[in-house]
């Protein structure tokens, strides 16, 4: 589990920062706590929006990437500090990275109170709708008389204090898991609102056409004066003619499909007849809402899949399609985003990985053997959602666990001796 900690102060020396650093060190066997710096965050000013500046974006990125947050607040004038409040104002103005985040409050003070009022006040701020955090209830950790609390190594001296902090943190870690599970369930429940009929509108939607028309591509070309043939198009890192783009896309060793953020099917690299394709497409389908491209029974799973990508629960999920062993088709659904990070649709690519696997095995002198410990071999994506059958969909099972970032448990190590031409490079 990964947490980030913020001490609500820009003082050079702060016991609240010391407390967070102690927690990060002392509990490093249970949780990864990264202490973030707010030194460069300017005082909030709604007339001088610095949301896009590096210090605020840094906090946003770190918080979004964390499972939970620990805030350590000093108490100034019976309340939390301006430095802490200012950070929270930035994080509730144009962006809301703390929304739904599990947050634990701790605090240290010079005298007996241990920041009691600041903590209550901070709790109230965190629960306001702009911040919308999930604050860990009860379990107040108030560190009073802080000047005598740490030894020379910045470790808490008192065993009872450490043991209380430890039990509090343990409970918080459970709270983090619980809240994040709840958030995932709530988000997953939203999938039903996914409009596969493409009744919505995005900036690039070509209006006034019948999406179901067989000649949609021609109609859309006419309507937009779309360029074709030898007209040059400027891309991010190159200039190609439309013909060249087609040569390029059509020679990709996989089937590519473009679905926009409005769930409209806009393009595929038309390589061959539908019968020979893994994910069957025909030219007349282009322009259709994706609802038209799936059997009715598959619709709920497609909705879940699109929603998972749109809501950012994962950027890619993979779906192996079972076969007789002559092929190993993989369907990949990759979320696309514009330069501002807004969801822009799905890049679906389908390829048979069996030739690649065979080539690799041949190259390295290895063979496939059954893993006696494997429990869920190729029934599809899903351990959790038993109702999702891969053959339902030309796509998708709703399974957030199928995140792309996962590495295989063991990376195959090339056997240098069996590779022709490779010399051991040690």
């Amino acid at each position: 589990m990964k947490l980030v900690g913020i001490a609500g102060t820009i003082e050079d020396h702060s016991y609240n920062r010391t407390l967070l650093k102690f927690m990060a060190n002392h509990f490093s066997d249970q949780v990864d706590i990264e202490v973030l710096d707010i030194q460069d965050v300017p005082l909030f000013n709604q007339s001088d929006d610095q949301t896009d500046g590096a210090p605020v974006q840094y906090l946003k990125r770190k918080i979004e990437g964390a499972d939970g947050v620990i805030l350590a607040t000093p108490e100034h004038n019976h309340t939390t500090t301006a430095a802490m409040k200012s950070v929270l104002e930035w994080l509730s103005f144009k962006i809301h990275p703390l929304a739904g985040k599990p947050v634990m409050i701790v605090g240290a003070s010079y005298f007996d109170q241990g920041s009691s009022r600041a903590q209550l006040n901070l709790r109230q701020i965190l629960e306001s709708p702009g911040v919308d955090a999930n604050v860990f209830p009860g379990n107040e950790f108030l560190l009073g008389n802080v000047r005598d609390a740490f030894d020379d190594q910045n470790n808490l001296k008192d065993d009872k204090t450490i043991s209380f902090l430890s039990s509090t943190l343990k409970k918080f870690l459970t709270f983090v898991t619980t809240i994040n599970d709840m958030n995932a369930k709530v988000a997953a429940a939203d999938w039903e609102s996914e409009d596969l009929g493409a009744h919505g509108h995005v900036d690039t939607t070509i209006d006034g056409l019948d999406m179901h028309a067989a000649d949609w591509v021609d109609q859309a070309t006419k309507k937009t004066n779309a360029v074709s043939g030898d007209t040059y198009v400027r891309l991010d890192c190159g200039v190609l003619t439309v013909d060249q783009l087609n040569y390029f896309l059509n020679s990709m060793p996989m089937e590519l499909t473009y679905v926009d953020a409005n769930n409209q099917f806009l393009y595929y690299n038309h390589q061959t007849d539908p019968e020979n394709m893994s994910a069957k497409r025909a030219p007349a389908q282009v322009g259709n809402p994706i609802e038209d491209c799936h059997p009715k029974r598959a619709i709920p799973h497609v909705k879940q899949a699109v929603h998972i990508l749109r809501s950012g629960q994962t950027d890619l999920f993979k779906l192996p399609v079972p076969s007789d062993g002559s092929k190993a088709d993989m369907h990949y659904y990759q979320a696309m985003h514009d330069k501002d990070g807004n969801y822009a649709g799905i890049n679906e690519f389908v390829l048979d990985i069996l030739p690649i696997v065979k080539y690799y095995l041949g190259l390295t002198g290895q063979k496939l053997v059954k893993d006696p410990n494997a429990t869920d071999a190729l029934t599809g994506a899903s351990k959790k959602s038993d109702d999702a059958k891969p053959d339902d969909v030309s796509g998708a099972s709703a399974n957030t666990d199928e995140a792309p970032a996962e590495k295989p448990a063991e990376e195959p190590k090339p056997d240098v001796d069996s590779v022709s031409g490779a010399s051991a490079n040690n």
Binding site: E11, L43, N45, H78, T79, A82, G130
Partner: protein, 201 residues
Amino acid sequence: MQKFIAMVGTNSTNSTNRKLLTYIQRHFADKAEIELMEIKDLPLFNKPEDRKVPAVVTEMANKIDAADGVIISTPEYDHSAPAALMNALEWLSFHITPFIDKPVMIVGASYGALGTSRAQEHLRQILDAPELRARIMPSSEYFLAHSLQAFDDDGNLVDEQNIKKLDGLFADFQIFVKISDQLKNAHGANYEEVRNLDWNK
């Protein structure tokens, strides 16, 4: 004539709280001399080890010292007073004591319906802290809700009820300032106590 400082509780360029204080300044011009005070040029409080406050803070503290009372108008951000106002009050209580026993009236304006109710409660709690120890006028709240629609083109409040309520509270505040002046028996002790409060000792 009584002299008041009207502290704008935000660093925002456009603020209906500033507008409200400007109105108060003009509307009560024959009853009190009111000077607007901005908090927008202060650095973020960092508790400097040399205990020096910026020159602009000293200037503000002197003005508050010299005034008979302070009117603070606060926006509400995230159910509480804005960081900018908390920041100003942190500086104004850092080894300086302009607010001790100073009569304070709290008002607030918000775009929505609640009129900064929670920010005002928060501000009371802050002003009650030992280093500030202001005399906040009790049992008085002035919420200017829907503040974008509350003023006419000349910056005057349009709603008669709003004006009437403000007139009453301001008259009370003028009396409260006089009463507070008699509540000075503990002032010396308060002052000494705060002067001797040293968080670093």
